[in-house]
Amino acid sequence: MLPKIFFGYFSIAMIFVSILIITRRNPIHSILWMLVLFFHIAGLYLFLNAEFLAAVQMILYAGAILVLFLFVIMMLNLRKEVEVERFLGEWPIAVFVGGATLVLVIMALTTLTQGPVGQYTVEAIQAETHVKALGKALYTEYLYPFEIASLILLIAVVGAMVLAKKRT
């Protein structure tokens, strides 16, 4: 029961925060609400026995990506821009489509039959520790994606440099 209550809190809070995120006029507010959301997500991860991911979520998302966002907002100095119309004229359509799609998705998801259960039970992971289990998988089985991810990060660096360089 207790987990369900916790989940209930988390989910309601997350949904609420998400709505706040997408409706705030000031992007800085959105980002701060985003931070709140990330905390909740991290909490959820903990529920799901993904401690390492929870940490990564905090460090990478909250610590790096959001800061990047904030940094850019500050850099662009957007005070004046805040005043203009927030939403697209056709927002009701978007909301309707979103709502309807949600209904459809939820209808579909009720039929979800989960796949076969694997070997990494909670016990197995705890025995090995989460980080080790993850790391082992990452550096052996998922070595190749890992390498590609490194290329992606390289691209991000190069691309950001190319694009954001001062004009010559």
């Binding site: 998705v105 209808m107 579909a108 998801l109 039929t111 979800l112 039959t113 989960q114 796949g115 076969p116 259960v117 694997g118 082992k136 052996t140 089985e141 998922y142 070595l143 190749y144 994606p145 590609i148 991810a149 290329l151 992606i152 390289l154 691209i155 991000a156 190069v158 691309g159 440099m161 190319v162 694009l163 360089k165 004009r167």
Partner: protein, 460 residues
């Protein structure tokens, strides 16, 4: 803890290319002359092509597969890359957008495509896709002083990110259904269970994400704007590369992973294909900018290629691949002509070109007729191939729709020809010839004719 060191032979092409990309980044610091970088890029292409045939095999625990299917696409990517490099050299100088990272990014993007074509696992597929996508976002915006280029990059990026979110959501559902991300294991798993709505949902999401990449309607709307705004060489690159990569993964995912829901994805793809052909062809008629027109034309071509996929047979898949190859040549050729002209973005810039620049006009004529699908050009062989496969699979009515749209397409391709040949020139069109561009044109036109006259080089 003892993992055998993975067999690297199948991934050598990717490794070579990514290493070359990184080397280019370093070389950029050394060489002032960007031509060297281009040359290095071409050498990388050559080396990759050289090792490509010997790279058969599966590796990384079955995540990566190098088979004839992927190899064919890699060949297309190499052609695309090589031609793009040839197109870019002079163009970048002219547009003052020269930077060393450009070639490096091209190579990275191509690496991403190759990874996509070889992916046997959704994780690899996703990462390859992102590698390609992120590089192309940057490339689209590489003329950073040009507002149109910025806009193109922005639009491409926003919608691309949106579509990859959809893809991820779809993959996550599929993962939930099958506990795996391996395409073949998914297929095996799906074989055992009944078709659930969730599965269809995830299939649709994945289909939509891929449709975005190949610019199929109604997920195509980014394409015209991005094609118009991006540097022309990149437009050429994008009109072939990511599209081919998209088709590569569609072919793989839908033929392997979603094999047993074929009955469900076929109507979806049919709908998308018809809409794509309709939107592409009809909107192309209304264009005045040749890059936009070619964008819509490339949308329409995606529709024809989808017909090959819809056929659902190995023959259809091959037809789609062949078409892609042919499309690469003719489309690249057309863009090469656009680049060749100092002022060649608007269709009316082509008025009277036949008088002032007969050779260039003749080349453009060949490419336009090839895009229309008139023999003896390669475009005809491609279309014929697709139609054969579809008819053999029983989709005669779909082919009827396709040929009617293909007849409509003649209208706008002919308009370019008409402008070149049947109108009087306002002034002598300034051109920007360079050996590399000439080489690209020659390769394209020769291939268009060779494939058109001796289709055996690509058939069977």
């Amino acid at each position: 803890m003892n993992m055998p060191f993975p067999n690297l032979a199948p991934v050598t092409p990717e490794i070579i290319l990514s290493i070359a990309a990184m080397l280019l980044l370093l070389m950029e610091l050394v060489f002032k002359n960007k031509g060297v970088l281009a040359l290095a890029g071409l050498i990388a292409v050559a080396v990759t092509l050289y090792v490509l045939p010997s790279s058969f095999g599966t590796t990384f625990g079955g995540m990566f597969i190098s088979d004839s299917y992927s190899m064919y696409f890699k060949l297309i990517f190499m052609i695309n890359l090589a031609l793009t490099i040839l197109l870019s050299l002079k163009y970048l100088q002219r547009e003052k957008a020269e930077c060393g990272e450009y070639y490096s990014l091209l190579l990275f993007a191509t690496t991403g495509m190759m990874i996509m074509a070889s992916a046997r696992d959704f994780i690899v597929l996703y990462l390859g896709l992102e590698l390609m996508a992120l590089s192309t976002y940057v490339l689209a915006g590489i003329k950073r002083n040009d507002i149109k280029s910025n806009e193109a990059a922005l639009k491409y990026f926003l919608l691309g990110a949106f579509s990859s979110a959809l893809l991820l959501y779809g993959i996550s559902l599929l993962y939930g259904l099958t506990t795996t991300t391996d395409l073949y294991k998914i297929a095996a798993q799906l074989q055992q269970s009944e078709v659930s709505t969730t599965l269809l949902l995830s299939m649709i999401l994945i289909a939509v994400a891929f449709s975005f990449k190949i610019a199929a309607a109604p997920f195509h709307m980014w394409a015209p704007d991005v094609y118009e705004g991006a540097p022309t060489s990149i437009t050429a690159f994008m009109s072939v590369g990511p599209k081919a990569a998209g088709f590569a993964v569609i072919g793989r995912v839908f033929y392997v992973a979603f094999q047993n829901v074929q009955a469900d994805w076929t109507p979806i793809l049919i709908g998308i294909a018809i809409l794509t052909m309709a939107v592409g062809n009809i909107l192309a008629i209304a264009q005045t900018n040749i890059k936009r027109m070619l964008a819509y034309s490339s949308i329409a071509h995606a529709g024809y290629m989808l017909v090959g996929i819809i056929a659902g047979t190995a023959e259809g898949q091959q037809a789609m691949m062949t078409y892609m190859l042919i499309y690469a040549f003719m489309n690249m050729g057309a863009f090469a002509v656009v680049i060749m002209l100092e002022k060649g973005d608007e269709i009316k810039d082509y008025e009277g070109l036949a008088k002032t620049r007969p050779v260039i006009a003749a080349l453009m004529l060949v490419f336009m007729f090839s895009l229309t699908g008139i023999p003896p050009t390669a475009g005809f062989v491609g279309k014929f191939n697709i139609f054969m496969a579809a008819i053999n699979a029983g989709y005669v009515w779909l082919v009827v729709v396709a040929v009617i749209f293909s007849a409509i397409s003649a209208y706008y391709y002919l308009r370019v020809v008409m402008n070149m040949y049947m109108r009087e020139p306002a002034e002598t069109a300034a051109i920007n010839p360079s050996p590399s561009l000439g080489l690209a044109l020659v390769i394209s036109v020769v291939m268009v004719f060779v494939i058109g006259i001796i289709p055996s080089v690509v058939i069977g």
